[in-house]
């Protein structure tokens, strides 16, 4: 417990106002019902008793600062208030007697009003204490809430980072192997491939996980990847990209498309023999960018796909973290073609 309610304006201001009101009310009350008391007596009575009440109240605030009762321990709070009320009554009574005890009328009045004073002081102290407890609880809850949102945000960022970083080491090592072979066979091409691989890797490193880029940029980046894969797989891999004119500037999360295409290539190349055609098409549907990636597969030997299946779960998770929706990635099969469809909501 670091802060006190006294440092909070929304607590301190009402407290001061309430105190002033209390003092004034008591003065007016005594003046109207006991007009025979001189003003000096009335002011001293009111200021002294209320000052002591304020001290008691501040004491209570300090106690609750270090000891917060749990929800069902309010009896102990009331007991504490009772004890404090007794104490206050004793002290204020003593002081009032010292200052104003000379007047017999006042002494009698003081004696008669003890019960009312006690009841009133108890009420004020209890209200103040409960207000303090509520305030402390509220602060505590705020903190917990803050911690939770912080933790959520951190884990979300970490997870997004991890999902995005899932660049297949397999891809990297095989590419390096191809370059190794090309150095002997075709040094020019080896050099070009080193360049493409570097550009591709640089792209994966510099991008922020929640950053949005235009489809055109993402396709340029995808082409780097496809060039590398074509060197590796030669004629076996063919691609066809068709981008609708009105989708070119639509936005999508960076590095979203490449893993989907990588998945399609792996699935296509390793599930069939011979040439593999990967198609990538983009369309605009209402306010969504819709990208469809297709690859051939062998319905005879591939397992029946459940849900999104086949290594797309990390992409699905990423979309969920970014958009809070689970329906943005879907797959379907038609004869021997497997389609992966991803929808990206566009901000209006």
């Amino acid at each position: 417990m670091s802060s006190s309610p006294l440092t909070a304006k929304r607590f301190l201001t009402p407290l001061i106002i309430a105190w002033v009101v209390l003092v004034t009310a008591q003065v007016f009350f005594l003046r109207s019902y006991f007009p025979f008391f001189p003003l000096y007596t009335v002011l001293t009575d009111s200021l002294l008793s209320n000052f002591l009440l304020l001290v008691a109240g501040l004491l209570m605030l300090n106690v609750t600062k270090y000891y917060l009762p749990s929800t069902y321990q309010y009896t102990s709070v009331i007991a504490a208030c009772l004890v404090l009320t007794g104490l206050w009554l004793f002290v204020s009574n003593t002081f009032l007697k010292i200052f104003l005890g000379d007047s017999e009328v006042y002494a009698a009045f003081l004696k008669n009003s003890l019960i009312i004073r006690a009841g009133f002081a108890f009420l004020v102290l209890t209200i103040l204490t409960i207000a303090a407890i509520l305030w402390y609880n509220w602060v505590e809850r705020q903190k917990v809430e803050q911690r939770r949102t912080d933790a959520d945000r951190l884990s979300r960022e970490a997870e997004l980072f991890k999902l995005r970083q899932q660049l297949q080491p397999h891809f990297l090592f095989n590419s390096l192997n191809s370059i190794n072979a090309l150095i002997g066979l075709n040094p020019q091409q080896a050099r070009r491939m080193v360049q493409q691989l570097s550009d591709f890797l640089r792209g994966t490193l510099k991008k922020e996980e929640s950053q949005m880029i235009s489809l055109t940029e993402e396709i340029n980046y995808l082409n780097l990847y496809l060039e590398i894969e074509k060197v590796r797989f030669g004629n076996r891999l063919m691609t066809s990209i068709s981008i609708d004119e009105d989708t070119k500037e639509l936005q999508l999360p960076t590095l979203l498309l490449q893993p989907i295409v990588e998945n399609a290539i792996k699935f296509g190349l390793y599930d069939t023999i011979g040439e593999t055609l990967i198609t990538i098409e983009s369309t605009k549907e209402l306010s969504e960018l819709c990208i469809m990636v297709s690859n051939p597969f062998d319905p005879e030997t591939s397992l029946p796909k459940t849900g999104t299946g086949f290594g797309l779960s990390s992409i699905k998770r990423r979309l969920y973290l970014l958009y809070g929706r689970n329906d943005l990635l879907s797959t379907k099969t038609k004869e021997n073609i497997y389609y992966t469809i991803v929808k990206i909501p566009q901000q209006a």
Binding site: P169, H170, F173, N174, L176, N177, S178, I179, N180, A181, L182, G184, L185, V231, R232, F233, G234, R236, L269, Y270, D271, T272, I273, D298, E300, T301, S302, L303, P304
Partner: protein, 244 residues
């Protein structure tokens, strides 16, 4: 003179091995193959002494291909698989090369083969029994005459021990595979297959009911009516998996 075959789906990866091989006149490259099917055919045709084998290839992996060959030759794996996955077969393969590799590393592997080749051949069969690749336990590759069939594990009804073989029953009949029951017990997904008996492993999704049978024995009835023996121990395992 030893005969060598290179099996890898990437042209450049094959040419790399080919280039490194030029140093060895005693090794004759008799074939280059782009997938496991071609590889199998070439192996049967040429009976090579040594193959360079990639693991991830179209349709069937290098491992699955090896499983289908009766007398597998010595193998040097050339793959981009990470070291962790590959450690498992260090003991049985001649060697493994992690892509990319240089001539020096390649020479080491070949020299290992040349040294061993004079003595005893490597035991590829043992290798296959020991090695399990991650995420590869969702299908079984079998050979039916000269045809290769890939069976998704969901389509396996049950397995039955038959001497040195295991009979793999599917709705199209059974296939033989030269493996042990304990291999399959470990290989097949444990939430789908239960070893109900010394001689049986059953696909729990095929079970329609389990009846008592003789004294403290049970019998599982499959959807197609087949009765599978269930031992007392097996009954316990079945109950656990089925959540009874």
């Amino acid at each position: 003179m030893s005969k060598v075959i290179i099996i890898d789906d990437e042209f450049l990866a094959r040419s790399m091995v080919k280039e490194y091989l030029q140093k060895y006149p005693q090794l004759e490259l008799v074939a280059e193959c782009g997938d496991g099917f071609e590889g199998m055919k070439a192996i049967q045709e040429h009976k090579p002494d040594l193959i360079f084998l990639d693991i991830q290839m179209p349709k069937i992996s290098g491992f699955e291909m090896l499983e289908l060959i009766e007398e597998p030759p010595a193998v040097i794996f050339a793959t981009a698989f990470d070291e962790y996955a590959i450690k498992a077969f260090e003991a049985h393969a001649v060697d493994y090369l992690l892509k990319p590799f240089d001539q020096e590393r390649f020479d080491k592997a070949v020299n290992k083969f040349l040294a061993q080749h004079k003595g005893s051949a490597t035991n590829t069969q043992e290798l296959l029994n020991d090695v399990q690749l991650p995420n590869s336990n969702n299908r079984i590759v079998v050979k039916n005459g000269s045809k290769i069939k890939i069976i998704p594990v969901q389509e396996v009804l049950y397995l039955e021990a038959a001497d040195d073989f295991v009979k793999i029953f599917t709705k199209d009949g059974y296939f033989l595979k030269n493996k042990t029951m304990s291999f399959f017990e470990a290989f097949l997904p444990a939430d789908l297959f239960v070893r109900s008996h010394r001689s049986y492993i059953v696909n729990i999704q095929e079970i329609t009911r389990i009846d008592p049978y003789e004294k403290d024995g049970h019998v599982a009835i499959l959807k197609n009516g087949t009765k599978i023996n269930v031992s007392r121990n097996g009954y316990g395992k079945l109950k656990a998996v089925l959540g009874l």
